[in-house]
Symmetry: D3
Subunit: 179 residues, 6 copies
C-alpha cells in the first residue's frame, strides 16, 4: 500500500488448492506485482463440500507457492469467513485484506457489486478436471487425483490423512454435528 504496486486479488474456497489455481496465480504474476489469495468459507471444514480447515488450506497454498518458486514476500494468503448478506460481502472482504487494484473473478456478481477495482477475467485452464468438486469425487472413488494438485498439496493431504476424511464425509453424507 505504501509503495506503488499493482496488487491483485483472487478468491476461492480451495478445497483443495489445485493446478488450475496455481496456474492462475502464475498468470496473475505476469500482470501484477503482488497477489492476495482470499480463502472463502473459512469457517467451514469437515463437511464433504468443505473438508479442509482454513489452516490446512493456508498451508497447502503457501507450500505450493514456495515449491513453485514464487516470491512469498509478494503474496498474502488470507482466510475470510462468509457473510450472509451478499450486498455487504464485498465491504466485508475489503476489511479483511490489504488494499488491491485488480480483482480476478469470473463471478458476474462480484463484477456487479464492485465498482472501484479493475476486474479481470481469470483464465482457468482445463476447468473440468482442475476443479475441487471433481478432485473430491476422484478421492472418493479411489481414482488418480494426485496429478491435478501441486505436489505440496498431495503431501499435505497424505500427512493429514485427507483422502480418508473426504471419503468418510461422503459416505456418512453428514457432518459431525448431525446425529
Amino acid at each position: 500500500m505504501y509503495k506503488n504496486v499493482v496488487r491483485a486479488l483472487m478468491v476461492g474456497r480451495f478445497q483443495p488448492f489445485h493446478n488450475g489455481h496455481l496456474s492462475l496465480v502464475q498468470q496473475i504474476f505476469e500482470e501484477c506485482d503482488e497477489l492476495i489469495i482470499a480463502i472463502g468459507s473459512a469457517q467451514f471444514n469437515y463437511i464433504y463440500k468443505d473438508p479442509f480447515t482454513a489452516g490446512e488450506r493456508i498451508l497447502m497454498i503457501h507450500a505450493s507457492l514456495v515449491d513453485s518458486g514464487i516470491d512469498l514476500s509478494k503474496c498474502y494468503i488470507i482466510p475470510v469467513v462468509n457473510d450472509e448478506n451478499n450486498a455487504r460481502w464485498f465491504a466485508h472482504l475489503k476489511s479483511m485484506v490489504p488494499h488491491f487494484n485488480v480483482l480476478y473473478s469470473g463471478n458476474e456478481f462480484v463484477m456487479t457489486i464492485t465498482s472501484e477495482s479493475t476486474i479481470k477475467q481469470p483464465n482457468f485452464v482445463n476447468k473440468n478436471e482442475y476443479n475441487g468438486t471433481n478432485i473430491r469425487k476422484l478421492m472418493v472413488t479411489s481414482r488418480n487425483w494426485k496429478k491435478l494438485v501441486p505436489n505440496a498439496v498431495f503431501l499435505i493431504i497424505e500427512k493429514i490423512n485427507g483422502v480418508k476424511r473426504v471419503r468418510t464425509l461422503f459416505e456418512s453424507d453428514s457432518d459431525p454435528q448431525r446425529w
Copy 2:
C-alpha cells in the same frame, strides 16, 4: 506440516504492529523454523482501541517483516475473529492456522487451555513504551510515536491517514455506529 519444521505461533491484536512485536518475531526465528502471526479481534476496526482493519494490520506486519529481511516463505500472517466462548477459543484458533509446535504467550490462560503445544514465555523488550495503548495515546497527543514502530508501519499509517483516524476515534469517544 509436510516437512519436519518447528513452527511457532504468536498472537496479538497489533493495533498497531510495533518494535516490541518485531523484536519478538526476531527472537522466535532464533529458536524456530517458521512463524505464524495470528491477528486477533480481526473483525474490529474504526474503534479507538482497535483503529485498523485486519487488512491494514496484515499489510503493516507483512511490510515490516520484508523490510527487516525476514524470509516471508517462513511466515504466515493470519487474521482470526474472536470467539465469545473462551473455553472454545483455542480450538477455534487451531482451525484457522497451520499446525504449530510452539506457542509464545505470556497469557496465563492460554497456558491453561492448551495442553498439546510447548509454551514459551515471550520476552517483550521495553513493554511500557512498545505497547499499542501507549502508541495510540502518543498519536492522540501529537507526540513522537514514530520511533516505536517499524518504518513500514509508520509509512502505512501515514498513507491511510491513520493518526487522524485514531484522534477522531478518541475524541468522539464512540464508534461510527453509535449516534
Copy 3:
C-alpha cells in the same frame, strides 16, 4: 398505539412485491385502520430465491402503495431479519414492529405460535400466478411478468436491472460467495 386504531400485520419476503400482495393490502384496509408490512428474510439478497435487498423491497412496496392511492400515514414497511429459533420468532417479530391487533397469515404455525392476536386468513387472489417463485421463473425464461406486479415495481426492477440479476443468479446456480 396511543390512539385506538385497529392495526394489522402482514408478513412476506416480497421477492418481488406483486399484485397478489397489493390486493391483500387493499383487502386489509377495508377491515383495519393501519397496516404493518413486515419484510422477512431481510438480510438475504443476490440469491436466486432472494434477489432483491431489503432496501429495494421497501422501495417497491412504498412506491406501489403511493401509486395505488393508499395513505402512507397508515402504513409501516419494516424489514425483519430471520431468527433461526422458530419458537422465538414471534417475539423477535414483535420487538421490531409497532403493536398490532390483527395478524393476516395463512401459515399454520404462525397461528400456533401466536395466541394474543386475532388471526385472519388472507385471501390471496390467483395464487399460482401472483407468486414470487413464478414471477422469478418468468423473468428467467423471458416471459411476461410485468402484468403480475404493480407498475412501480416494474419500473424499479427495470431501473436496477433486476431481470438480468435474477437470470444471472439462476444460471450461476450460486451466490456471490460460493467459488
Copy 4:
C-alpha cells in the same frame, strides 16, 4: 429510485425521538424531496441506554411526523441492526434502505467511510437539551422531559409506561438477562 428525487438519509438511535430530531427532519425537507430515517441499534431494548424496542421507536417517529404535517409518502422509517465490523457498516446500511443521494451526519467516520454520497452537516438545535441521554436522565430524576419531545412521543411513552421502564433500568443498573 425510479423517479428523479433527491433522497436524504439520517441515522440515529432515537431513544427517544426528540425535538432536535424533528427539527432536523424539517430542515432536511427544505433541502430534499424524500427522507429515510434509519433507526440504529435496532436489536437493543430494555437496557438503560436503549430502553425502547425498534417497533416502539418506529411508532414514535411515525406519529411525530404525522402530527407535524409531514407527508409520510416521502418518508421511510427503517430499523437497522448493528454490525460489529465498522468498515463494513456502511455497506450493511445501504443494503437495508432505499438508494439515497444525500447523507446528513456529523459523525466524522461516516464521512470517511462513505465516498459516494453528498454529506451534509446536520444542524442540531440546542444539542445539550435535545439529547437522548439528557432526556433519559430527566425521566429518572422525575424532571420535565415532556417539552423536549414531540407530543406524540410523550403520549406513546405514557401509554407503554416508559418512564417507569427507564427508571427501573437505571436503578437495577442491569438488563433482564444479568442475574
Copy 5:
C-alpha cells in the same frame, strides 16, 4: 468430577427420543456410573426435521428415564446449540457439559476429532425402525409410531399435539419464517 466416577456422554438430536435411545442409555449404565445426554441442534424447532423444542426434548428424555427406573441423580440432560465450525465443535461441546471419560459415538468424525476420551461404539438395536426420520414419517402417514417410543414420550407428544405439528411441517414443506 470430584468423585472418581466413570461418566459417559451420548449425543443426539432426539427428534423424538425413542426406544433405540433408551436402550443405549440402559446399555451405557451397565458399563458406566453416570451419563450425560447432550441434545444437539438445540436451537432448532418447528422444522419438519427438528419439530420439537429443546425444552420439549428435555422433558421427553427426563420422563422416559424416570419411568424406566433410572436414577436421575446419575444423569445430566443438556441442550447444546450447533457450531458452524466443525473443527471447533468438540471444544464447544466440552464447555457445555461436565467432564466425561467415555464417549459413545458411531460418528467417525467424532472419533477423529477427539483424542482424549475413550470412545465406544454404541450398539443401536433395530436401527431402521428406532430412528427419528422413520418415526416422523410414520406420524405423517398416520401409522403406528407409538410402540417405537417410550410411553412418556408418547404422552408428551399427545399433550403438545405433536403429531399435528409434524404433519403440518411436512405438508407446508417450510418453516414458519418462509412466506
Copy 6:
C-alpha cells in the same frame, strides 16, 4: 408436562452456585413439585465475572442438590445462552426449558416481559454474603469463601483449581482473547 405438576423456574448465572441459591431451591420445593434451574450466560467462561464453564456450573448444581438430599428426578438443570434482544429473551428461554407454571424472580423486567406465568419473589437469605460477586472477591483476596457455598461446590472448585483461575482472571483484568 404430561402430569399435572407445578413446575417452577429459577434463573441465575451461578458463578458459583452458593448457599443462597441452595436455600432458594429448598424454599421452592416447599411450594412446588418440580424445579427448572436455568443457567444464564451459558456461553461465557474464563472471564473474571464468569469464570466457570456451563458444564462446570451444571456439575456444581447437580452435586449440591444430590448432597442436599433433593430428588433429582424433580429437577432440570439447563444452560441457556444469552440473547442480545431483551424483548425476545423470554421466548428464547421458554424454547430451551420444559413448560413451567411459576417463575421465581426479583428482576422487575422479567415481571414486565412475562404475562403468562405466576411470578413469585424469591426470598434470598443474607444477600450481601451469599452473592457471586462477593465470593469471587473473597477468592481473590484469599479469604474464607468456603462456608458460603455447598461443600460439593467447594470440592469441585478445588478439583478444577478454580481459585487460581479466578485470581488470574482478576489480576490480568482481561480474558484470554485480549492481547
